[in-house]
């Protein structure tokens, strides 16, 4: 394939939609992923993603938009996680493990109740960035703007909370409200990202750019910028490689990030 052919392919509407949505959600996920990584919440993001299966199945059963159903269900899971965490003596890791098992089991059972085989199951699991509509792109753009504004406004508080919940308390920050907001925003971003990379790989979209950046960055500012840059590079390179070698786009984007992670280990501070 020549460069001209590649450029012509990128000029096609479905590729433009894929690139726009991928860049938008990728950057929002990378920014959010910085805090998820620093707070050791990778398992939580995986739990939200897998629980989304139940939301999607519910949407298909009730004949409502699977994306809308997944968003509502994921937000519910996010709220439940913080509620149980705050009212229980068991660790967050265990709370998340319980919700992960329950959410995924419910999803599989609800899927089994669907009357016929649903072809969209494969794209739910692995995403299908090339089939996005302009509405999907708009949703991705809106979520990105929302996430970036939220994080720009709360990043100092979130970072202080990452160090110590006690510090947020003595500095007069409402840590409980902040925690709810953060878990809900994360759930929302994951629910919307599923259409791009799927349930199985969405955690990679959140974690990998931040993990690459963490290996290289010296300061927090560098960490955020490097994570965003890594996400942009992975999206563009991943989409290009998927066109060149006829590979599934979502997994290729994730593999590019994973390769970046491998290389970053050599550049580790």
């Amino acid at each position: 394939m020549t460069l001209d052919t590649l450029l012509q392919l990128f000029a096609l509407p479905f590729m433009q939609r894929a690139l726009l949505a991928g860049l938008c959600i990728g950057m929002a996920a990378a920014f959010l992923g910085v805090f998820i990584t620093l707070r050791n919440l990778s398992f939580y993001s995986d739990t939200i993603a897998h629980s989304a299966l139940a939301g999607i199945a519910l949407g298909l059963l009730l004949n409502i938009s699977p994306t809308v159903a997944a968003i509502i269900f994921c937000i519910g899971i996010g709220i439940a996680t913080v509620y149980i965490k705050n009212r229980s003596v068991i660790s967050l890791d265990t709370v998340v493990g319980v919700i992960f098992s329950a959410g995924l089991s419910l999803g599989v059972i609800l899927m089994s109740l669907l009357p016929t085989y649903r072809s969209e199951l494969f794209s739910i699991l692995f995403g299908d960035i090339l089939t996005l509509s302009w509405l999907d792109v708009g949703l991705a753009g809106a979520i990105t703007v929302g996430v970036v504004i939220f994080l720009l406004y709360t990043s100092r508080r979130l970072l202080l909370m990452t160090f110590s919940q006690d510090f947020t308390f003595v500095r007069g920050v409402n840590g409980v409200a902040l925690d709810y907001a953060f878990f809900i925003i994360t759930a929302l971003t994951i629910a919307v990202s599923i259409k791009i990379v799927g349930i199985i790989l969405v955690t990679g979209l959140l974690i990998l750019p931040a993990a690459v950046a963490k290996n290289i960055a010296h300061s927090f500012k560098q960490l955020v910028w490097l994570a965003m840059i890594m996400s942009v590079v992975a999206t563009i390179t991943g989409l290009t490689l998927s066109l060149l070698f006829d590979l599934p786009a979502g997994p290729t984007i994730i593999l590019v990030s994973a390769t970046g992670f491998g290389l970053s280990l050599f550049a580790r501070r």
Binding site: L38, L151, L152, Y153, S155, R156, R157, L159, L160, F163, S164, D166, F167, T168, F169, V170, R171, G172, V173, A213, K214, A217, H218, S219, F220, K221, Q222, L223, R269
Partner: protein, 237 residues
């Protein structure tokens, strides 16, 4: 002294079947320098956390006459991931101004009594335990607190650094009327700087001026061994 800072009645704390604090009552006046003394597992840290409002007692009443925004708190230790990419300067910026947008304001000039200026560009995970405690105390004092809660804050700091810190804290208490409540194992420091002691071993063993309460009977009740042995243990440690 201008009234009470903290008034506690019959504070008890239980974790399941384990009694951490048993009907502890005391009054701390404004402007005091208080040391909470006691053996390991006496409930000192938990009592300090209850005083701040970080923890609720299982039963009992506590009245606090201070604004939480006027509180400075240095914990016993801060578990920082050594790979956490944040500089000392960034940490101090966000501690001083946790609210507001992403914009990182310039750090005001620090009173470098604790020798942290040369550490500003270091990653916080690279600091030693003593350096981290210095940074925390410098950050906390930069917020101009009216009440300071310190939980064995000087652990890991060299003796010369400790002496400087206690001297500085004493000055803040004497000249600026800042109330200081600290958890300590150090009987000498307590005797030298504190004007009030809470002797704790789940129950309140004694309360009063160090010169009034430091006696054989109270030390035996608190540590279960005579005063001379306590001093030997303390100096060996």
């Amino acid at each position: 002294m201008h009234g009470d800072l903290i008034h506690a009645d019959d504070l008890s704390l239980n974790f399941g079947d384990v009694t951490v604090l048993d009907k502890v009552g005391f009054v701390i006046p404004q402007g005091s320098f208080v040391s909470i003394l006691g053996p390991n597992g006496a409930g000192k840290t938990q009592l300090l956390r209850i005083m701040i409002g970080l923890l609720n007692p299982t039963s009992g009443d506590i009245t606090r006459h201070f604004d939480i925004k006027a509180v400075g708190y240095v914990p016993q230790r801060l578990n920082v991931d050594p790979t956490f990419p944040i500089t000392v300067e960034e940490f101090l910026q966000l501690y001083l101004q946790p609210r507001g947008w992403w914009v990182w304001q310039k750090l005001p000039k620090l009173d470098d009594i604790f020798a942290v200026s040369h550490l500003l560009k270091h990653r916080i995970g690279q600091l030693s335990g003593g350096q981290l405690q210095r940074v925390l105390l410098a950050g906390v004092l930069s917020t101009k607190p009216k009440v300071l809660f310190l939980d064995e804050f000087s652990s890991g700091i060299d003796p010369h650094g400790q002496a400087e810190m206690y001297h500085h804290l004493h000055k803040l208490n004497e000249k600026h009327g800042i109330s200081i409540i600290m958890v300590s194992h150090d009987i000498d420091v307590t005797a030298q700087y504190a004007d009030e002691v809470l002797c704790l071993n789940k129950q309140l063993i004694c309360t009063g001026r160090p010169q009034d309460v430091f006696n054989q009977q109270n030390f035996e009740k608190m540590y279960g061994i005579p005063l001379t042995k306590v001093n030997e243990h303390h100096h060996d440690a």
